[in-house]
């Protein structure tokens, strides 16, 4: 059992991990053909992962409805929405133009999602009023940078104070880039370290934490 659940997946991961790490540096036609083949496999696996995700979501909400867990009404709404979209989608063979599926997409999903995102302005304003205070020197610097960028990124700001746009651009191009680059390097090093751990079988969380 351990062989199938642990040893074999770790061996496959090691073999493929090393192969494709080296493949990047080998532009030979055979190596490129291998990548072409495997990238198609990966796309097929990703397609199945979507199905698995949908099934898992439906299963978890079905449990909520069954147990009448707090907020189970939302699960019913989710079920109804997903099943109707899925049903109409299959019925109209995925075509959007002139179908019920297209109508549902254009007149429910698009405005609902756009509204959710647009609400961000209201919540940002409210949260800023409650929490964005100059309590420490660091918080003061952050607050000043935020005000300058907000001021300089809109036409009214540049109209009232010519030149503020360049100040805003400087903040974005120099201090922001320096901070973002630091974060990016940190993330990249972390990703490399994790990848090596997974390839070498040191990190096995992705195999599941069940009993052996």
């Amino acid at each position: 059992m351990v062989f199938w659940k642990r040893t074999l997946p770790v061996a496959i991961t090691f073999m493929l991990g090393i192969t494709f790490m080296l493949q990047y540096y080998v532009p030979h036609p055979a190596s490129e053909a291998l990548l072409r083949e495997v990238s198609v496999w990966n796309q097929i696996i990703a397609g199945f992962a979507v199905i698995l995700g949908v099934a898992s979501l439906l299963q978890s909400h079905a449990q909520k409805i069954k147990r009448k867990a707090p907020g189970w009404g939302y699960s019913v709404v989710m079920y109804a929405s997903m099943c109707s979209m899925l049903g109409f989608g299959i019925w109209s063979e995925g075509k959007g133009e002139g179908t019920a599926f297209g109508w549902l997409y254009t007149y429910t999903l698009v405005p609902l999602q756009a509204t959710m995102f647009s609400l961000l302005a209201f919540f940002v304003a409210s949260a800023a009023y409650r929490a964005f205070r100059a309590r420490s020197p660091q918080a003061t610097v952050l607050l000043l940078a935020a005000v300058l960028v907000m001021w300089g990124r809109v036409p009214l700001g540049e109209y009232l104070l010519p030149g503020i746009g360049q100040v805003s651009d400087w903040i974005m191009n120099i201090p922001n880039t320096a901070a973002q680059r630091g974060i990016l390097i940190g993330i990249s090093l972390g990703a490399i370290a994790t990848s090596i751990k997974i390839i070498c079988g040191i990190e096995r969380a992705h195999l599941g934490g069940g009993q052996e």
Binding site: S39, Q43, V110, F122, A125, N173
Partner: protein
Amino acid sequence: MHDLARRLLGLDRRWIFLVIAFGTVLPLLYPLGLPIRVSPEVRKIYDYIERLPPGGVLVLSFDFEPAGKPELFPMAVALLHHAFQNNLKIVGVTLWPAGTGLAESILSQVAQEHGKVRGIDYTFLGYAPGEANAVISMGQDLSAAFPADHYGTKITDLPILQGIRSLRDVHYVISLSVGFPGIDTWYVYGKEKYGFELGGGCTAVSAPRFYPLLNTGQINGLIGGLRGAAEYEVLLAREGKAIAGMDAQSTTHFLIIVLLALCNFFSVFTRQTGRTRYR
């Protein structure tokens, strides 16, 4: 006064929502029409498209779903107008499943305005699952990633894709991204290996993340948020939804600045008067 300041600090958030709502709606009804300065990062994308030869292939990746519509829709429309004006061939794709319908409708609407023919001047390949794998797959062999376009035509039969076997053969790729997968995916798994030029468009909230890529030339330009889209409309001299929305964004930014000033003033005031009281 101390109590009033304390009460104002705990102001019901619905009042703030109301202020922001007025700040958004009023400028939409009564536009200010303030001039918009074009930033270098937006101009770079515009200039690059200007330099592309007529008939050049532009891959426009609509990496967003309807949540990103308020900012990325005007951006996509402006870019498509520019590309069609310059007689470029457009290949639309998306890495976001929920973005498929939106992307297709934007592309076909703008194409129709310019009298472009599907399959010859433009096509929409649709959604490819697998995020990074989809990009790698397109880089290796476009017909393996998309055997047929969104409308069911085999891509080997499409006149627009004659001579285009993979991403190595396209002139320019622009990813309009609301998150991941998006610009990063196209850069890390696409541009780096297949050597095409890459530009990006994103929501304002995610724009700061892409400045390191911009400064190193990993992307050759960046259209950030509604402001970026408005700048592009200014360059095209074609007023669209982005320019119309900039006045609302101006007032909203200023209202947030005023709210920040007030809350900090009240906060400092209550701290100081509190100390005096207990002295």
